[in-house]
Symmetry: none
Subunit: 233 residues, 4 copies
DNA sequence: GATGAATGAGTTTTCATTCAT
DNA sequence: CATGAATGAAAACTCATTCAT
């Protein structure tokens, strides 16, 4: 709530708290997370936390809000309306590539990703107000809508089903990347972008579009040969 | 653990406990779930629980084990090796249809579905032993593998990524159906099976297969025409 | 709530808990009372308390309920309908005397008395359900009503005002007795009964009755001479 | 403590703080009251409070002190020594009437009244220093003493008992008036002054005085006739 | 003179689990 | 077999108070 209070705080302390919180929430979910442990890791006193946030829910929501702000700024920050039929898929893929590069350097985004996996299920009353998820959803929705206007995204599915499916697929891919993160070299990771992105196209592209769907950038070149590396779940 | 003890229990009591547990785990996740509340709802004494199960984790795992047994028996109960190139997709779609019909009558499956959404993240050490998820995974894996043998499932993706994506999509569709359940007539629900199934095919089918992918029973309007989309992907 | 659980408890432990609770509530009021301190004094574990009672409020109400049961049984346990015009005041005075004798021997009643002083003001929602106060009130009300039927209690005041005044006076006298308890010998205490009782008659008696109001038993004999003893506070 | 500091404060801020404090103390008692909530309602910073007052106890005592000052000035502000046998009761009744009129317009007095109900029991060491209660008490005491000198107040009771009883009755009547406030017309309210005042006389008047106790202004029906009740008591 | 930051000890309540019977 | 009693540890959250600026 009292956002300014927290914003005026020493940058280092802020970071330690948010980092600790993100980690705890990511690992144990909202209900399973322990404020005690968050505070212990952050080296902060219990009452200080309550000086800055109203309660556990407020901390959680502030965290997600902040995250989404950063994320949107760095990754999603482009106007769907500016897309054209030609640029649509390439631009999106570029964004995905960008996100991956960021994650490559900054563990924050990894934690954030793991948090998102938890977001579908929150104590009732909170999932409505879960801003990160809502923001991400509406961003995806807008983007898909623009794609439909341009004729590059299919129009034969219920909107919400399409958004849900896309987000689920995105989460799954994220999770997979996270899980196999350490088994891949940075180059392999980048190569996966092409693979992953093609999945989205399969799911969402309009019929006419599909034929030209040779993944434009980077592509999936690690192809055939490298497959077995990943057999281990 | 002490399987026999529990199996010898009055059928009604068993059901009440498992139902209550499934609901609680589904709603709050593993860590957020409260044994107290499970027992309260089931009308069972605390000590009884510990007579039958070793601890919270044991209850959870027994529950998932049992669930998967039922699920496999009623839905997945078919031998992937018996599938042929022609029967592959139709049989699978039949199974999906079957699952939908079951959900129609039995809330158990709904709870089960919600539980599965939680399964990706469990306290460390437990996710290894999460049998429901593993069982479901390995079943899906086997089925996809068979599909690859038959040449109807793509082979250009890491196994685990394909399984993850498929399951995520399945969950998303499940959740969507649950959410929109009351907005649809029974006929519409059945019609959706075709739609949903087509999503799976898009994601997983081998290039050669795609053109012949007429969803057999589904009343999915935009259907037919769009089939050749996948020729090149 | 789960009354039986508590009733089946070792008599000594019960007493220690209730004693400790009564003392704490009496000293600090409902909101100011600390469960920690109650438990510490009673030598009971925190979770045990919650095994027997639902929460702080439940403990408090159970305590008052129990108290009122004992009190009514030993002091108020007489049928107002059985009173006659002649016996009315003497019987009541006898009861007051009885209560004083009990208090003389049992510290429980003293604590109970101090608790009652707090009862008018409780967290909103609880004062309604405060059974001790309500029980005491309705007992007083019934008794006064009977007195009016017999023509020995005035009828020129609003019922509720009369009851409130009577109870307030009763509390004040109780408190006074409690405060000066240790300054008086048991005989002096008994002597005060006459004095105190006369105050009630003054307040409540019907005009016709007052003239005959020479305090029947024990009377106020300590009279003139002994007055200065009590000047302090 | 630091009286001057506080007095130099903006009048509006002062009022808001005292109002908020009075409300909180009245509702939850001294121990149950929360400084945090008082400050929140008053829109004042925590450190400001500690600039003006030493601690919670100091705030409470300053509040009561101030209250009693106002109260004495507006209601009790008369010299008991100036009373005569004839004017004694009429003057007192006038004052009661005055208090009622004030309450009619100013919620402050209502809060004050509710606070007083709490004053009998404070954390040990504080009840001694509770100035409002002591001031009120000593004022009542002085007034009763003067009444005894004039022969219009009974002398057969311990001082402190008489004071306690009188104050308790006053509080009860106050509370009753508060509760039934909205059920009465302004005229009825004024009429009740006579009724209420007669209760005080019954309790406190000397035997010789009772016969002449015509409540001067009160429209109290049953009034007159019942006066000689007290001749003998 | 005035305030936001910070906190340790406290609050009530719930947790999963053990044990004696 | 079955269960009520009992608990230590931890949960989220609030308290009155201090201190550096």
């Amino acid at each position: 709530m009292n956002r300014t209070r927290f914003e005026n705080l020493d940058e280092q302390k802020k970071e330690r708290l948010l980092d600790s919180a993100a980690e705890e929430f990511a690992e144990h979910g909202y209900e399973g997370a322990s404020l005690n442990k968050i505070l212990e890791r952050a080296g902060m006193s219990k009452s200080s936390l309550y000086h800055y946030f109203e309660d556990k829910a407020d901390l959680f929501m502030s965290l997600t809000e902040r995250s989404v702000a950063i994320l949107m700024c760095e990754i999603g920050g482009f106007d769907p309306q500016a897309l054209t039929a030609e640029s649509y898929w390439p631009v999106l893929e570029g964004r995905v590539r960008r996100a991956l590069e960021l994650s490559n350097r900054n563990t924050w985004y990894v934690k954030l990703g793991r948090m998102m996996l938890r977001f579908r299920s929150l104590p009732k009353g909170m999932d409505r107000s879960n801003r990160l998820y809502r923001a991400a959803r509406s961003f995806v929705e807008a983007t898909l809508l623009r794609g439909q206007e341009l004729g590059v995204v299919r129009t034969d599915l219920p909107q919400s089903l399409m958004v849900d499916s896309a987000m689920a697929l995105g989460e799954a891919i994220d999770a997979w990347m996270l899980t196999h993160w350490d088994d891949m070299t940075p180059e392999e990771r980048l190569a996966m972008v092409g693979v992953n992105f093609e999945l989205f196209r399969r799911l969402l592209a309009a019929p006419s579009e599909v034929s030209s769907a040779a993944s434009p950038g980077g592509g999936f070149r690690a192809g055939r040969g490298g497959r077995e590396d990943f057999k281990k779940s």
